[in-house]
Point group: C2
Chain length 132, copies 2
């Protein structure tokens, strides 16, 4: 995987954000540093970086995928109304993988806990701008 300017800046900006942005949200951020970058480059690199295990691709709650540059193990909660995602701090004493009794022939690599709820804005009844 070649180190291009675009790839470096995409990764750098994603790591700065704690918001688990969608591709187009990250596009808006990266465009400030690389005004000529294409949205296709954002998509391609996010896909590639997640294949390489450098970022996480989050696929729950809503139609758009979200991405997370924080590779430390942690859980997420997503808002069922607006699709926003946040980190959740959890007790660390459960090994999820040990919970499996029968995986019906699947070979399991990873297990994770995720939560559903309402974000602070949607609780207040505000129309979250990031509607899924």
């Amino acid at each position: 995987m070649r180190i291009t300017n675009q790839r470096e800046i995409i990764l750098e900006e994603l790591r700065k954000l704690k918001t688990h942005p969608t591709a187009d949200e990250l596009y808006d951020v990266v465009k400030k540093r690389l005004p000529r970058i294409s949205i296709a480059t954002i998509y391609r690199n996010l896909e590639r970086l997640s294949e390489e295990g450098m970022i996480h691709k989050l696929e729950y709650g809503g139609r758009q995928k979200r991405f997370d540059g924080d590779m430390r193990p942690h859980c997420h909660v997503f808002c069922v109304k607006c699709g926003r995602v946040s980190d959740v701090e959890t007790k660390n004493d459960v090994n999820i993988m040990d919970m499996v009794l029968d995986s019906k022939g699947f070979k399991i690599f990873e297990g994770g806990v995720q939560f559903e709820g309402l974000c602070p804005l949607c609780q207040k009844g505000d129309d979250c701008e990031t509607l899924q």
Copy 2:
């Protein structure tokens, strides 16, 4: 929510399936009993039934949503290659909700464990027909 023939049969057929079908997979099944049904009716009812808490909408792994008529609490594993979903039998001694220490202002309703892996067919290297 009115009880229509279409709605009843969609629910009935979904409950019969253990495959966690996508909307179009369920469409093919339901069409055998209701040849004139529209794909939009499938989408509308699956969305509606999940809003009403009668079925589960599964949004991980791939672009298509999947649906599950089995409302007993249980975990899923999805194949990272083909997107197939299967139930996973797990130890029942962990209360996921108790794990939360800080939810960053989100009000959490539900928590679940999900696993990623490879389905039996993709392990063999076969081209799964249900490619995501």
